[in-house]
């Protein structure tokens, strides 16, 4: 029996831009922390080894610091288990790329880190297991990266556990032809006991034609986006695939890996998901017309681990000026208690005083006319004018409210 952790798509040194610079750095830092947690998890549950199915780095031109830190964490300590990893489409094995630079340039094998740069079987030391690595050399290619394993079929007397390690898209749906497509039944056809895949960011496992789950994507070890929100919009990160920010590159806001146990060759593997990410990314939308602000404040101030939550809260609805003035309170909770980069977007919140309040807020003078005019402009078909008018309306209420005699 062997037990190993399957992770992928670490995207260390990830390009992330849609937060303030300090927050970006902290979010990138969280990926290293999560990697460390992966290492610690492996030690905790005493797995035999770890496989990482590509995209260790976000790009082949990442900084030396990132490359060195990643190596150091993966290399671990003398008691750590070995790590087998391959290049993915973000960090393909290209001349002058990260894999040809220090410390990854050092002669293989390292003590514990095994970067598998050749498509040839590698026996796991001390175990009756062979890894069939499928490193990528291009960002996009039309070849099946696992095709070479056909040249090494399982012989009838071979009892070695065969593990495929690849980075690409399982061709189980319409996909771009150059997205390193892998035959949907590759594990069974190639005689593999388990095919560890990377490339898709959400955790998933797939059954072969014999009904056994031998193929799985571990998902990214640390979230990269808010669920349900475009990655391009949410973080500034984008994939290199032809179809860009497709659904398969969306995670569900938490970092995951798989614990795989294989009792013997030919025996179906047991696949258990693990959450190992540092942060949770949560994008939430609240309708203030339905939920009073007080409840929202109470809710967000009582949540667990807010410091490990990257929150993107969007509010909408119609509120009274008095209520709108309290939004600042909620905003401070989001900005101060939650992880750096958390935000509160109240642009869609409309302020509408009651008929009784109207006179109280704007009076019967010029301001009343201004308010009427702004309301007209807020209905304009010109988006820019509409936006300015909306903001001006909020300001009007805000200033008028502040100027009320206390």
């Amino acid at each position: 029996m062997i037990r190993f952790l399957h992770a992928a798509d670490l995207h260390l040194g990830m390009r992330i831009t849609r937060f303030e610079e300090g927050a970006c750095q902290r979010i990138c830092e969280a990926r290293f922390t999560a990697l460390q947690q992966l290492r610690e998890k492996a030690a905790e549950i005493q797995v035999d080894f770890i496989v990482i199915a590509g995209d260790v780095f976000d790009d082949h031109s990442v900084s030396r610091t990132d490359a060195t830190r990643a190596f150091a964490i993966l290399e671990g300590s003398k008691d750590s288990c070995p790590v087998f990893l391959i290049s993915g489409n973000h960090d393909p094995l290209v001349p002058g790329g990260v894999w040809e630079r220090d410390p990854w340039l050092r002669d293989q094998p390292h003590l514990r880190v095994h970067f598998l740069k050749h498509a040839e079987p590698v026996d796991v030391p001390g175990l009756s297991a062979t890894i069939f690595p499928c490193p990528l050399r291009q960002r996009r290619a039309m070849d099946d990266p696992t095709a070479w394993i056909e040249r090494h079929p399982r012989t009838s007397d071979d009892r070695t556990i065969r593990i495929g390690l690849a980075h690409g898209s399982l061709k189980i749906m319409p996909l771009p032809e150059d997205d390193h497509l892998i035959h949907p039944d590759a594990a069974e056809r190639l005689g593999l006991d388990y095919l560890a895949l990377g490339h898709w960011h959400k955790q998933s496992s797939h059954r072969s034609s014999d009904g056994i789950q031998r193929t799985a994507y571990s998902g990214t070890h640390e979230p990269m986006r808010f669920a349900g929100v475009s990655a391009e919009v949410a973080t500034g990160w984008s994939s290199f695939s032809s179809d860009g920010d497709a659904e398969r590159f969306c995670d569900d806001g938490r970092g995951t890996a798989l614990l795989v146990t294989i009792d013997a060759a030919g025996v179906p593997p047991r696949i258990e998901p693990l959450e190992i990410g540092r942060l949770r990314w949560q994008a939430e939308h609240r309708e203030m017309t339905v939920q009073p602000l007080g409840e929202l404040i109470s809710d967000y101030s009582r949540r667990e681990n807010p410091e490990r939550t990257l929150l993107r809260l969007t509010l909408s609805g119609v509120v009274e000026p008095r209520e709108y003035a309290r939004l600042e309170e909620l905003k401070q909770i989001v900005l101060n208690r939650y992880h750096a980069g958390s935000s509160l977007d109240a642009e869609a919140v409309l302020i509408e005083p009651s008929a009784n309040q109207l006179d109280e807020v704007v009076g019967g003078g010029v301001l009343k006319r201004v308010l009427e005019k702004l309301k007209e402009e807020a209905q304009s078909t010109d988006a820019a004018s509409q936006r300015v008018a909306g903001q001006a309306l909020k300001l009007l209420y805000q200033i008028a409210w502040e100027e009320q005699p206390k």
């Binding site: 040194g13 990830m14 390009r15 992330i16 831009t17 849609r18 937060f19 303030e20 610079e21 970006c24 990138c28 976000d58 790009d59 082949h60 031109s61 990442v62 900084s63 030396r64 990132d66 393909p92 290209v94 001349p95 002058g96 790329g97 990260v98 040809e100 630079r101 050399r137 291009q138 960002r139 500034g236 704007v362 009076g363 019967g364 003078g365 010029v366 301001l367 006319r369 201004v370 005019k373 702004l374 402009e377 936006r387 300015v388 008018a389 903001q391 001006a392 909020k394 300001l395 009007l396 200033i399 008028a400 502040e402 100027e403 009320q404």
Partner: protein, 917 residues
């Protein structure tokens, strides 16, 4: 409040003024010339109704001077539907406020000075005539500016708001101040309507935008580099693929090359044998061909030798015939040349004779010319001698010209006159002193003075030049003899100068100045000179004509002709045949000789032509002879060469043996060739081997090239380490700045929009509220024809701020208008606002002291109707315009008088009595 009447006593210059029963509305004109006391009336009314209690001591300056009387002012006014009478005896505590009862009686309300004052102020609306509605309607003399907005009475403004409506609430004020404060974060100065203002440099937004632009540029560069790297990456992939293909091809081609090399090795012995056979065959073939060639050459040389020898005989015959022809032509030419020489000798003789005749004729002509020239020379010589004589005379006997002569004559006349002056008789000086006359001294002709005798008998003194008489107690008496211009000394000096000048002048002509006939001699000499000069000029003219270049050319010509005559006589003696001496005979002989010469020339010409023809024939014959000789020589040389060539070739037998040997060697080589015939593969093995080697080399070169490129890309990609992080960091900064600037720009735009809208709405509200006032004022302005304005913009204080032109494109301040127009606009606004605050139940009084002083006559007439209209009021307007009681104090009653105005003459003793000045 309106005035019903007033009485004033002892106020300033007013002894007594009484104006009762004023009409409740309409125009009331109180007029009088300057210094009548109009302004004093206004001051008295102000003091009595509002400004002072009777006990005040502040009004002493208004007390009448020198009378000791104190002012008493009594004003009857109506307010709140009742009539009141206030009487104040200033300088005392005597005051009385009374109200009129329904029966017309007066009921005293109070007699306390303070109470009366206080209650009166309450009734008329204030204790200060410069505030409240009075600020608008009670104008001091010549005042026409409207009050400033900040100084305009707040109570009046409040009343106007009460009538016209709320313009801007305190919340509005605080709001717009807050907005302006925020607005000034991004903008400087004042917001300008209709203008897109630039954000101020140095504000955070401007700084962020600047940083964003800079960061975007850096990010753009970084992204460009990233794209370049991606391109290199793709290129590297292509190169890697290509290298794999090339290596595979090299592998294949290297195997192919090895097989070619093995094949080449195998074929080598057969190829060498074949090559030797081919070589031997080629040598044999060459030898055979050479032998056959030699055989053919010998046959051809033999034929050519025979033909050349046969061709020699005709050439020899032709050469002999041409030589004979040349000899014949040479004999003919010798004879013809002798005839030509004889003919030429004859012509030479004739020419010689003709020349002699011509020389003789020339000599005859020259002799005639010599004679004429000699004659001309002699005549010219005589004239020249005469000219020389005249020139010598004139030089030896100089004479003055006319001007000099006149000057000399004038000199002599002057000398005569001066001499006459000098020679005039002396003067007698008679001195006859009275008895006991004071002593006197007399000096005569510069001699020492002498005491005059004191006898009473007259003494006569002769004075030549000068007498000086010194009289004690009187002074000196000088008597000098002379002309009007000079005394005797001066005349004598002038005479001496004239004589000296004359002597100098005549000395130049060889005459002494002492000679009494000097002038006559010079006159005579000048006359003689005039005659000689005429003759001299005539001779000179003739000489110039005969010998313009002097005598030398004439003498040279004579010498030349003499020499020529001598030469001709010498030639004549050399002739053999004598020539006639007569010109006619000579002319006839010359003609004959000329004819003979022509005939000789024709003969010579014919002979020369004939000689040329013979020469041409001879030249042709000689050429033919030369050609024949050359042909013969060539034929002989060719024959010799042919013979030598034939001798050089091998004998026929030897050549036949050589051909036979060559044929045998060729047959032997042919046999060997047939034995070593090569297959197609053997034939092409070298080429194929070379092609395989080249293919491998080309592939290896391509591999080297691709490897080099691959290494270059590797190097570039190695350099890109950290690019991803830099891009990411830059993009994060740009994103953050974009978010920040977008957010702040939105905030800025929203604040600006709020500001703009507030101003617009405020303007609109102002327009709505002040509409009635605006319409009345603008209507009146159009009546007065003040500018061509479309709109008058009022400020918050209900005062005009700006004037908009007809098309709304420009706005002006009231101060930009003329002084007259400013006064009129001010008056119109006062009337409009006053009417708004007045009502039918409570009309208001407007007291205008000396108004419209800057108004022209045309506008005054229109202004009068406006004042009347304002005074009447208009209940149909919204809000209604109340009636006004307009009291005008003026020294120009004609400006305001009309049929409905109440006109009061302040000069009338029934109205006002002034204190004596």
């Amino acid at each position: 409040v309106i005035l019903e009447g007033f009485e004033i006593e002892n106020w300033s210059c007013i002894r007594k003024a009484s104006v009762p029963d004023l009409p409740p509305s309409g125009l009331i004109v109180l007029h009088g010339p300057n210094r009548t006391g109009k302004s004093s009336i206004v001051q008295a009314l102000r003091a009595c109704l509002m400004d002072y209690a009777s006990t005040t001591t502040a009004l002493k300056s208004w007390y009448p001077r020198g009378t000791g009387e104190k002012p008493v002012v009594c004003v009857t006014f109506r307010t709140g539907g009742r009539s009141y009478r206030i009487k104040k005896c200033f300088g005392s505590n005597k005051s009385e406020l009374a109200s009129q009862t329904a029966t017309g009686d007066w009921r005293i309300e109070t007699q306390s000075a303070a109470d009366a004052h206080e209650r009166t102020c309450g009734l008329v609306g204030g204790s200060d005539s410069a505030k409240g509605l009075h600020q608008l309607l009670w104008l001091t003399q010549a005042e026409f500016h409207l009050p400033e907005a900040k100084k305009f009475d707040a109570g009046v403004q409040a009343q106007l708001r009460g009538i016209l409506g709320v313009l801007q609430t305190p919340l509005d004020d605080r709001f717009i101040e807050h907005v302006k404060e925020r607005w000034s974060v991004w903008y400087s100065g004042q917001r300008k309507t209709g203008k897109q203002q630039q954000i101020k440099a140095g504000c955070k937004l401007a700084e962020n935008l600047q940083r964003l632009t800079a960061d975007q540029q850096v990010l753009h560069d970084s992204e460009s580099k990233f794209r370049e790297m991606e391109g290199l990456l793709r290129h590297a992939e292509d190169l890697e693929q290509a290298l794999r293909d090339l290596n595979r091809q090299v592998e294949e081609r290297t195997g192919e090359l090895a097989s070619r090399q093995e094949e080449h090795q195998r074929s080598q012995s057969r190829i060498v044998a074949r090559q030797q056979a081919e070589k031997d065959h080629a040598v044999a073939e060459k030898e055979r061909v050479s032998a056959l060639d030699e055989q053919q050459q010998r046959a051809a040389a033999s034929n050519r030798c025979q033909a050349d020898e046969h061709a020699l005989e005709p050439a020899r015959e032709k050469m002999e015939a041409t030589a004979q022809r040349v000899n014949e032509l040479e004999i003919t030419r010798t004879k013809q040349r002798a005839t030509l020489l004889a003919q030429r000798d004859k012509r030479r003789y004739l020419q010689q004779r003709a020349n002699q005749v011509a020389a003789r004729l020339g000599a005859l002509g020259d002799a005639e010319k010599l004679s004429a020239a000699q004659e001309d020379l002699n005549r010219t010589q005589a004239i020249a001698d005469e000219v020389d004589g005249l020139r010598s005379f004139l030089a030896d006997n100089p004479a003055p010209d006319a001007k000099q002569l006149d000057e000399l004559k004038e000199n002599r006349q002057k000398v005569a006159r001066l001499q006459a002056d000098c020679d005039a008789a002396s003067m007698h000086l008679t001195i006859a002193p009275v008895a006991n006359a004071v002593a006197a001294r007399l000096a005569l002709d510069n001699r020492p003075p002498k005491e005059l005798p004191d006898s009473a008998a007259p003494a006569i003194h002769t004075v030549r030049r000068k007498a000086d008489l010194f009289i004690v107690g009187f002074g000196r008496v000088e008597v000098t003899r002379g002309t009007d211009q000079a005394d005797v000394d001066q005349i004598e000096e002038e005479l001496r100068c004239c004589n000296e000048e004359f002597s100098n002048a005549v000395a130049a002509f060889g005459i002494t100045g002492n000679d009494p006939n000097a002038l006559d001699q010079l006159i005579h000499r000048a006359a003689e000179h005039r005659l000689k000069h005429a003759d001299f000029a005539s001779k000179m003219k003739e000489l110039k004509k005969l010998a313009p270049a002097g005598l030398e050319p004439l003498e040279a010509k004579v010498r030349q002709l003499k020499t020529k005559a001598e030469d001709v006589s010498g030639v004549e003696t050399a002739g053999v045949e004598p020539l006639p001496d007569v010109r006619n005979d000579l002319d006839q002989l010359a003609a004959t000789l000329q004819q003979q010469l022509g005939e000789a020339d024709d003969g010579i010409k014919g002979l020369e032509s004939e000689g040329d023809a013979i020469e041409e024939k001879l030249r042709v014959a000689r050429l033919e002879e030369m050609a024949a000789k050359e042909a013969l020589a060539a034929g002989m040389a060719t024959a010799k060469s042919s013979r030598e060539e034939l001798d050089r070739l091998r004998p026929v037998e030897q050549i036949a043996q050589r051909i036979s040997d060559a044929n045998r060697a060729l047959e032997d080589a042919q046999v060997r060739l047939e034995r070593t015939t090569l297959t197609n593969d053997e034939l092409t093995i070298d080429e194929r081997l070379k092609a395989a080697e080249q293919a491998v080399a080309a592939l290896q070169s391509q591999i080297a090239d691709s490897t080099r490129k691959f290494d270059v890309i590797r190097g570039r990609l190695l350099e890109s380490e950290g690019l991803h992080a830099r891009r990411s960091s830059l993009a994060a900064r740009v994103d953050e700045l974009t978010r920040l600037t977008e957010r702040e720009s939105l905030e800025k735009d929203a604040v600006d929009r709020l500001y703009t809208l507030f101003e617009e709405c405020r303007e609109k509200q102002l327009g709505t509220l002040l509409g009635p006032i605006h319409d009345r004022v603008l209507g009146w302005m159009r009546v007065l024809d003040i500018g061509d304005y479309q709109q008058v913009r009022f400020n918050d204080a209900f005062l005009p701020e700006k004037l908009m032109n007809r098309d709304g494109t420009a706005e002006f301040t009231v101060a930009e208008e003329s002084t007259g127009a400013q006064e009129q606009i001010g008056m119109l606004v006062r009337l409009a606002l006053g009417s708004t605050l007045a009502s039918t139940a409570e009309p208001a009084v407007a007291i205008l002291d000396d108004p419209l002083t800057h108004c022209d006559i045309g506008r005054l007439s229109k202004m009068r109707s406006i004042l009347r209209s304002a005074a009447e009021g208009n209940p149909n307007l919204t809000p209604p315009a109340g009636p006004l009681q307009i009291v005008v104090l003026t020294c120009h009653p004609e400006w305001f008088r009309d049929e409905r105005a109440t006109v009061i003459d302040l000069e009338s003793p029934e109205v006002m009595i002034r204190l004596p000045v």
